[in-house]
Symmetry: C2
Subunit: 204 residues, 2 copies
């Protein structure tokens, strides 16, 4: 009966984790749809199907909710990068940017106001988030420098500027603008933005 008594709490914890995952997924979608300020905790609780007070047992503030969503996407990014097949650096970088655009178009890319200071503080204090961010930045940074050395990326641009430009695709309004026009499907939109990002607007 040893297995039973140890399995019971484990099962309970699994349930908890599952519920927290559901919360994070809902927050993720709401952050992508409406942004941090417009998202209300009441809304999150309603869509998850639990009481607001229960939410606060899992996450102690609205900022923590947002941070959990950011950690979630960061982990998904790490998983995506880890499973990338071997390829030239530029191709890897392009694949990551494409993934960012796909996640955004799928409505799963949380968007946070870069100015909100309490939110910034919460994020910077979150070691899961910071570790993930640094890990991803290191990997992308290595690809960027390798691609510059091999003459695939413009060596005159600072690597950090290239990194930021890639990250910035996560909140690029061009995707929504093009979608509103109803002239291009999602796949075409992604190709267009990828092209403007890497090849620029100028003629080749």
């Amino acid at each position: 009966m040893r297995t039973e008594v140890t399995a019971k709490p484990s099962f309970k914890q699994q349930m908890l984790k599952a519920r927290e995952a559901a919360i994070v997924q809902t927050v993720n979608r709401l952050l992508a749809e409406k942004g941090f300020d417009a998202m209300t905790v009441d809304e999150v609780a309603a869509q998850v199907g639990i009481a607001k007070a229960s939410l606060y047992k899992h996450f102690s503030s609205k900022e923590e909710l947002a941070a959990a969503a950011m950690v979630s996407v960061m982990h998904r990014a790490q998983a995506f990068i880890a499973e990338l097949p071997e390829a030239p650096p530029l191709q890897q970088l392009r694949a990551v940017v494409r993934w960012i655009l796909e996640v955004k178009l799928a409505g799963d890319m949380p968007s946070l106001p870069s100015q909100n200071s309490s939110l910034r503080a919460t994020l910077m204090a979150n070691t899961d988030y910071m570790d993930g961010l640094m890990d991803v930045s290191d990997r992308l940074g290595a690809w960027i420098e390798a691609a510059q050395a091999s003459g695939d990326l413009n060596p005159k641009l600072p690597a950090i500027a290239i990194l930021y430009t890639c990250y910035a695709r996560a909140c690029d309004p061009v995707l929504e603008f093009l979608r509103m026009g109803d002239l291009y499907d999602d796949a075409q939109i992604i190709e267009l933005v990828l092209a403007t990002c890497f090849e620029g607007l100028n003629a080749g």
Copy 2:
């Protein structure tokens, strides 16, 4: 005495216009600093130095305040475009994008949440704003198509995608990111973003 009685209200109206201009300037700056949601009407009134109730005599809602700020930048954009010296289309377009980046770095580019529906409605109902937007879009659109025809801009990209990509520089977070790093001054940051926008990340 004819001049006196007609001059009096004209002067009064000038004062009003001046005060409204001060309000709009304050709103402009606050929208650039904190965004629409984080900006409060109390804050605006305090910084202008008038009572909140007085603000509402000039603008009937927070949305109207934001719309006035958008009309203001739109008019400044039109004035900038009108005074541009004759030059090839690509150069004109680049000048406008450079102007956008300069205004943003100067902290004078209001940033609105693209999702807020009541705000969208207010903006779309504002004929001053819509007229300005269409006028600017027409002028930029003509330059874009001319530059594509002359082989300066990539003719494979839809003109509308190029237009949106230029507009999107008004909310490009790369500017703030690079500024935070403290490695480049404002002039360098503008050149970097201009280069990535037009020449792309790839090597020439």
